[in-house]
């Protein structure tokens, strides 16, 4: 078995998921099943193949430029208000599970 219960616990920590015991068991099974299938990728020799993080890596580039400037339309001039005004404070807080009119409220961060 490739993925163990310990791996699942570690990854769940990274992903900030409090999995139940049942979920953890199911996850070991499912991840192994999927990763088993995914292993077929190792059949391919990709030593000379560049990775492709996004579609615009293959087209829409301005090759006369360097680095990320090649993505010709990825940046714009810095403007004071940006593209539009920011959300008003109360609108930004409107969906908050807990707020005091100024801040989002959450449980204590620092335990002592």
């Amino acid at each position: 078995m490739k993925v163990t219960a310990k791996d699942v616990a570690y990854v769940a920590d990274l992903a900030n998921l409090e999995l139940t015991e049942q979920e953890r068991e199911r996850m070991v099974r499912d991840l192994n099943s999927i990763l088993g299938h995914v292993d077929s990728l190792s059949e391919l020799d990709t030593s000379d193949v560049p990775p492709m993080a996004q579609v615009s890596d293959r087209f829409g580039l301005d090759d006369s430029r360097q680095g990320s400037d090649r993505f010709a339309y990825a940046s714009r001039d810095d403007a004071p208000e940006g593209l539009r005004k920011s959300l008003p404070h109360e609108v930004a807080l409107a969906n908050a599970p807990d707020a005091d009119g100024t801040f989002f409220k959450v449980p204590k961060v620092i335990e002592k």
């Binding site: 699942v8 990854v11 579609v55």
Partner: protein, 477 residues
Amino acid sequence: MDLRNLTIDAARSAVAEGRTSATALAESYFSKIESDDPAIGAYLMLSKERALAKAAEVDSLVRKGEKLPPLAGVPLGIKDVLVTKGVRTTAGSKILGNYIPPYDSTAVARLETAGAVVLGKLNCDEFAMGSSNENSAFKPVHNPRDLTRVPGGSSGGSAAAVAAHMAVATLGSDTGGSIRQPASFCGVVGLKPTYGRVSRYGLIAFASSLDNIGPFAKTAKDAAIMLHTIAGRDPMDSTSAELPVPDYVAELEKSIQGMRVGVAKEYFGEGLEAETRAAIDSAIQKLASLGCEIVEVSLPHTKYAIPAYYLVATAEASSNLARFDGVRYGYRAQGVTSLSDMYRRSRDQGFGAEVKRRIMLGTYALSAGYYDAYYLKAQRVRTLLTSDFVEAFKKVDVIVGPTSPTPAFKLGEKVDDPLAMYLADIYTVTANLAGIPGISIPVGNSKANLPIGMQIFGKHFDEASILRLAHAYEKTR
């Protein structure tokens, strides 16, 4: 008005010519939804106030004899992964069960500027993760053609609404086939545009390099009208292409004589169900009889598409879904002992099983020690898959094949086997990895009267050719 015959042109002209008001038209769709949707489950939320306000606006323009915008009075539905200001948007998830967006997605804003009437928000698999609409946290969607079967996913509600005449057209999203596959299962037209053709601003992100917004409609022409309305550069989405938007409707009527249509042998191997194969073969013969040149092509890396997709998509999803933490919006767990506890419990309680599975897979694929073997490897395979298409498109103008290996399966049939569910995406994920456009059009029915769809892939930014071919095929039906 018989809603079953309403295309965008028919609806718009009925309103423009005064045969019905936009308000009456919207009301008749709301009646239809009220009577038919309980059995189907396509809509999660209706936006009656917003719809009727827009309809009243359109009716006022008609009364004053003013020029009407291109979608004036046309009733549409919107997949619930697209934010609508003031109207609850959930992405099919309990973690956003009460989320009221403070802004509109660009695609929706453009449709409304064009006069469209937004009827409501459509059901989908949670965070667009699924191929059957069984992963919605609220209720599954039933295929209008056979209520015991799935409509496909993740845009199951969007497909079903068009198939059941509960909207003239709808918007969906497609990350691995989520527009094309449900279109195929429900017997309607579904278009995934080129990546970057339509702004993703306001689309609740699943996988940012794979996500696309696109229309469902009854006809290729309606899909063309919808695309024309929503496409184009948006400064709010830096991945939206700075390229002019063709007049897709005008392009439809151009000749398809001599169009080189590729047939990829890898799409016709085992696993393709017999009736589907027969329907596609028959459709290809029809294209030949219309004057197309059928050319065999090869997409040799096809079998690696699913593993590559499920690594890239889940890795990107694990990052995109990290924002759902119970702090600023969405579900927050009660009775927690610390901030960390709040994050972990809110996410475990708020997300459904499939979402958690994908977050875990993606996190694993990106974690130290595994990043190279999984995520980076998948990115290299993505380059190979894309090259397959670039090479093939040197010999052909479009590529056709089945949208799905089978017609719609039964509800509950694949829920316990996530891998089996994933493998059904074999024909659709390639387009998302390569960024090319694809459309699914109905080409026949199985003996059990289930719709079968054919997919047409095009070159980057060549939606005009795939729409044109779809339109030409449609005219022969």
